[in-house]
Symmetry: C2
Subunit: 144 residues, 2 copies
């Protein structure tokens, strides 16, 4: 089975990766794509568009590398469970980018945390989780 | 792994059972509890409380038997995938009854459809799905 595991660096997203790993272990293997979306306009990069193209590219590449490096832990968790793991970092608006990627990849299951990095109350679904649940055509596993 | 598969007789709930079956197959087996909650006050049983106790019990038993009989199809789908299946019908308010059962059973995963039998738009999560996602302590897989 092919899993699409969404990651945003939060402890909740790491728990989602751990749940995905549990599934992979129970299935005796599988494929997992770890996807992180870097959303530039919300990352404090104000005035970004006024920078020269090369400077913009450099900043984007830096952010992508940082995101990739930050995915070592969920990657390890999934690999130890027996998954073949691919790490993907995309730049764009979070929800549409996730949905578009899911449509291309067509995973058997999308795995995500119930809330992201914002200061959202324990019991309430995060906005991104809610939107992915509404828009994704594939089954979504939500991990608390 | 232990799955709790919620069922309400809708085609969407049957798709959820089929997705659960896919998981069971990929895992080479597993346990699945098929849970249906009969909510009396919304089932047209007005004036129910004015009936004699034995009559109430008879009506409840009838409803439970009907619900059990209606679970043959998802049961078959799960069994064919290699699951050990238990069917459970409970009477009560839908969401609290599901959450309480999940807390007792402590499944590895709750599987449910994104919407129930009401006339809810394709892309919007059903109210019960939304509430279970908010209240369940276990991972929830939502199937479209």
């Amino acid at each position: 089975m092919k899993l699409l595991v969404l990651y945003d660096g939060s402890t909740n997203a790491l728990r989602a990766a751990e749940s995905a790993a549990k599934l992979v272990k129970a299935m005796g293997g599988g494929e997992a794509v770890l996807l992180q979306v870097v959303e530039f306009w919300e990352s404090g990069a104000w005035g970004f568009l006024t920078l020269p193209d090369e400077e913009q590219e450099r900043i984007i590449n830096q952010a992508k590398e940082k995101a990739l490096a930050g995915m070592c832990k969920p990657e390890q968790v999934l690999k130890e469970a027996g998954a073949k793991v691919e790490k993907v970092v995309l730049v764009g608006e979070v929800v549409p980018t996730i949905i578009e990627y899911a449509d291309q990849m067509n995973p058997d299951l999308i795995v995500m945390g119930s809330r992201g990095m914002g200061p959202i109350k324990e019991l309430v679904l995060g906005g991104i989780c809610h939107k992915v649940l509404q828009l994704a055509k594939q089954p979504v596993m939500v991990v608390k």
